[in-house]
């Protein structure tokens, strides 16, 4: 085991992949300089600027170059600096990369990794903080990965680079610089396998990316304060989804809270809730609760952004609703027993 940040875990995984296979190339804005978060620092020095290519601010063409290189036998890892800019690359990702294998009748494959990062909390405003993963999970042909910690980031990135399909690898900038314990060498993490981080029998919390840490914090508080045992599961990949691990837990607990940083409405939590209720309907004791951001663009002012970002408090509140559901004649908040969740918008 060794101590690493999320950024260092990504960086060393990229370097290892580039050492093992010279068809792995890295391209994106400022990648040869390390990028704004230094995720690709040192790669240009080790592998040269032919394989670690700085690009102009041309997200569409750069993503397309990566797709073209991938379907010609290379394994590009292209970086879109902020997921907010993926809007400019969506034609290449959605219309080309996702469909090339299918539309060519299996002749082409696109072993591409698109790394990007999202998430709020840095006062960066509404164009540098979003969580847009649900858009990508909606497109057949793409895989979508969202690691919540450094060890998973390393293991999943290695799997993504080895995968013959286009994989969108969504990081959260709030996770970047915590020191974490990671296995050395990193253990591979298969794409499509959820991980149960905390066992529990009262409620299932399904959390994505940054909210996994918040879910664990909420679970600890619920346990120590109220004796509530929450099971916390991180799906780790949205597509393909390990529904069975989530459903098995829900069939046991009968109650579920789904938490992500993205806007609740139309977020991936909606898809999770739909799939889970279909898989575990007869076991449900309460409606599946969702925790996410309100339906507004992301504000800059610290007071507003802090209120905007969902976290442990919102998860805790949602757990209590799930657990207290049906114990009252009317809705729980009508008794003033608890505060109505902000997420029920």
């Amino acid at each position: 085991m060794t101590e690493k940040t999320f950024v260092e875990a990504i960086n060393s995984t990229l370097a290892r992949a580039m050492r093992e296979d010279e068809r792995v190339i890295v391209l994106g804005e400022d990648v040869a300089e390390g990028g704004p978060y230094m995720v690709t620092a040192g790669l240009a020095e080790e592998f040269g600027r032919e394989r670690v290519r700085n690009t102009p601010i041309s997200e569409g063409a750069v993503c397309g170059v990566a797709v073209g290189a991938a379907q010609s036998g290379f394994k590009p890892v292209v970086e879109i600096m902020f997921i907010d800019f993926i809007t400019l690359a969506l034609d290449q990702l959605v219309n080309q990369a996702a469909k090339a294998h299918f539309m060519s009748g299996g002749q082409l494959s696109v072993p591409l990794v698109l790394r990007t990062q999202g998430g709020a909390g840095q006062r960066n405003g509404a164009q540098h903080s979003q969580s847009l993963e649900a858009w990508l999970a909606h497109v057949p042909g793409l895989k979508v990965v969202m690691p919540s910690n450094a060890a998973d980031a390393a293991g999943l990135l290695a799997s993504a680079i080895a995968d013959p399909n286009p994989v969108v690898f969504v990081e959260n900038k709030s996770l970047y610089f915590r020191r974490e314990t990671v296995p050395d060498p990193p253990e591979p993490v298969p794409i499509g396998q959820a991980r149960t981080l905390r066992p529990g029998s009262d409620v299932t919390i399904v959390a994505l990316s940054r909210l996994v840490g918040d879910a664990l914090e909420a679970a600890d508080r619920l346990a120590s304060g109220s004796g509530i045992e929450a099971e916390v599961i991180d799906p780790r990949t949205l597509v393909p989804l390990d529904l069975e691990t989530l459903a098995r837990s829900l069939r046991r607990t009968g109650r579920a809270v789904i938490a992500h940083e993205a806007v609740t409405a139309g977020g991936f939590g909606a898809e999770l809730a739909a799939q889970l209720q279909a898989a575990a309907f007869d076991y449900l004791e309460a409606p599946i609760q969702r925790v996410g951001a309100p339906y507004t663009p992301i504000p800059v002012s610290p007071s507003l952004e802090d209120a905007y970002r969902p976290g442990a408090w919102e998860i805790e509140a949602a757990v209590r609703i799930a657990l207290e559901w049906g114990e009252y004649d009317a809705e729980p908040w009508e008794h003033g027993a608890i505060t109505a969740p902000r997420t029920s918008n």
């Binding site: 397309g64 170059v65 299996g106 082409l108």
Partner: protein
């Protein structure tokens, strides 16, 4: 022009012309499916460019792709089967007219989104550059794609990275239903790329030897890694934007202009051997009919194929 080369170009052009005219008929009787964009009048560019390429050179095309696929060597019977939605189609019935791919012959793909093929071609050219081969990539696009954002991004990247790519613009003066004067402030595409400093040329796309010679000037340089290049071919779109287009924008001089601009008629005139030219046409016609029979005899795909090809394994 060398007689053997001219004969080969005539053969390719007839195969494209008769394939597409047959497709137009089949579309009217609902035997081919989806949006169909034909290149009648522009066959000379596909023939003259692809006729000089090797199998390991890559070609990308757009929505008007039949001619490029045929000229690059894709089998006509499997192309016809693809347009007819059959399991034996080149893409097993999953691609269709706008998304033809034939990796075996270096036809890396057509895309239905105008301009979307340009960065893909750069990606293939980047792999050729990194592998150090002398293979090149050609990307065909219309003048309508030049106003798409991908065009400027791609031209800049290709010039910055000196990629072995040859941009071949078929400037037929029309972006869908709209004339070039109405959609671009710059008339010549070769002028659009002038500031990037790479070699470019504009030729009459109906003059097949002129297209051939201009491309022959670029190709050996591209093989040495001295790209990119741009060849603009002024072509004539004989048919509508797509089959079914009412063409209300078409003016009355079209028929007269066509007689001037038919690349097959022009090359046949200079070819000098009418009997041989007629024989080439007959052979192509027989091949097209055989392709239609092959396609009609092929089954439609089993439904399971769609779910098994979403992801590569």
């Amino acid at each position: 022009m060398d007689t053997d080369v001219a004969a080969e170009l005539l053969r390719t052009m007839w195969r494209i012309r008769l394939f597409e005219e047959r497709v137009a008929q089949l579309k009217r009787t609902l035997q081919v499916h989806g949006l169909i964009h034909l290149s009648v009048g522009g066959e000379g560019v596909a023939a003259a460019v692809c006729g000089q390429l090797r199998n390991d050179d890559a070609v990308y095309s757009g929505h008007r792709a039949h001619g490029h696929a045929i000229a690059k060597g894709a089998p006509i019977d499997r192309l016809m089967a693809e347009l007819m939605g059959r399991e034996s189609g080149i893409c097993r019935g999953l691609g269709g007219s706008m998304h033809l791919v034939d990796v075996e012959h270096g036809f890396m793909g057509a895309t239905g989104v105008v301009g979307g093929n340009l960065p893909l071609a750069l990606g293939t050219a980047l792999t050729q550059h990194l592998e150090g081969t002398d293979a090149v990539t050609v990307v065909f696009f219309g003048d309508g794609a030049v106003q798409a954002g991908h065009f400027n991004e791609s031209v800049n990247l290709a010039a910055l990275w000196k990629l072995p790519v040859i941009f071949v613009c078929e400037n037929n003066g029309m972006a869908e239903f709209t004339s070039r004067e109405e959609h671009s402030a710059i008339e010549r595409v070769s002028d659009v790329v002038a500031p990037y400093g790479f070699d470019r040329e504009t030729v009459n796309g109906s003059d097949v030897p002129a297209v051939y010679d201009a491309f022959a000037g670029f190709l050996p340089e591209a093989r040495k890694g001295r790209g990119p290049f741009l060849l603009e071919c002024l072509t004539y779109r004989r048919r509508g934007h797509y089959e079914g287009d009412q063409q209300r924008y078409r003016d009355a001089t079209a028929e007269e202009e066509w007689r001037e601009r038919d690349p097959i008629a022009r090359l046949t005139d200079s070819f000098g051997d009418d009997d041989a030219a007629a024989e080439i046409e007959r052979e192509a016609a027989a091949e097209i009919e055989a392709a239609v029979r092959f396609a009609r005899d092929s089954p439609y795909p089993e439904p399971a194929i769609a779910t098994t090809l979403v992801y590569a394994t």
